[in-house]
Subunit: 210 residues, 2 copies
Amino acid sequence: MRLYDMKAAPNPRRVRFFLAEKGLEIPREEVDIPSGANLAPQFLAINPRGVLPTLVLDDGTVIDESVAICRYVEGIRPEPNLMGCDPLEQAIIEMWQRRMEFDGMMGIAMAFRNAAPAFARRASPGTLPPAAQVPELVERGLAQARHWLERLEARLAESPYVAGPRFTIADITAFVSIDFAKWVGLRLGEDSRATRAWYEGVKARPGASA
Amino acid sequence: MRLYDMKAAPNPRRVRFFLAEKGLEIPREEVDIPSGANLAPQFLAINPRGVLPTLVLDDGTVIDESVAICRYVEGIRPEPNLMGCDPLEQAIIEMWQRRMEFDGMMGIAMAFRNAAPAFARRASPGTLPPAAQVPELVERGLAQARHWLERLEARLAESPYVAGPRFTIADITAFVSIDFAKWVGLRLGEDSRATRAWYEGVKARPGASA
């Protein structure tokens, strides 16, 4: 297996965190998104969609989409379980994972990609059609991310982890998104007590620095 | 169980299609998004996030997010399998499902919600902060959806179904998205031969009219 990766980017970080929790090491190759290396012929020959992370299996099978890669890893290395042990738990974890992804990470990405100079003419990821940045989306994305952080605080005030009593993939998405939010100037406030306590706990895990 | 539903909306339709393929009937309650019924106190008391579909189990557990609901249904009614039988197949299906969702459905939703009069002040779904429509996003969304249709045609020219040799949740997302695309004036062209043939096959399934 080989993981096409970018050390600083949030989506690849989710997968590295997940792999570290599983105790798995996979050879990695760095592909730099801001300079456009993910859209260069060399990488498009591997994944024509031009997105990271991309996992290539030994038989050449290509898997992109962070959560799909995690799903594969969960299947081949079931312990510790990060995606649910029975239908109900699997659904609850998937629900929370998607809430973190759609309300949180995507809001932050909206603010980031519509402002960062490197993405001036490619506000959409990968090989989606070139899109000019739209300044209104910076504020829309920030408002969405702030709202997500409020909801997250309410959730973590009542639950030890995002999806329930134990650490799961939903915590990984939330944690990585909180660090990603710093790129657009958003930080946890003093009143985010439950989130800050949870954040420190997750940060102490080996996967947090993977 | 009870499914909070909206007959015309694409996300609830994905879940109804999935349920029909499983041969499951669940009592449904209609909630009208354009008139704002999903944001009324009555529905927010059920799901504070204000999104559809929402599944409520007999013990009161709430599951939103279409794919999370499908994951639960897949677990309690495994046959016919729609989300994969082993780790690799599960990952491949999830990858394709997400490609259809992110590149296709979300592009169409971007074009739709930034243009439809009913969403003039709520271009973001559910209880996300009120967002004014951004006209540039109509063209961005349409360009993304067109690009997705080109990619889908290439895929279906080489594969009987979106994720491989058999019908899966990825086909449901793609099929529902193609019908959703009509809302923004996009239709399959004459040259989309493989997609049209696949579409007719999927349309003949009982779930297509669910």
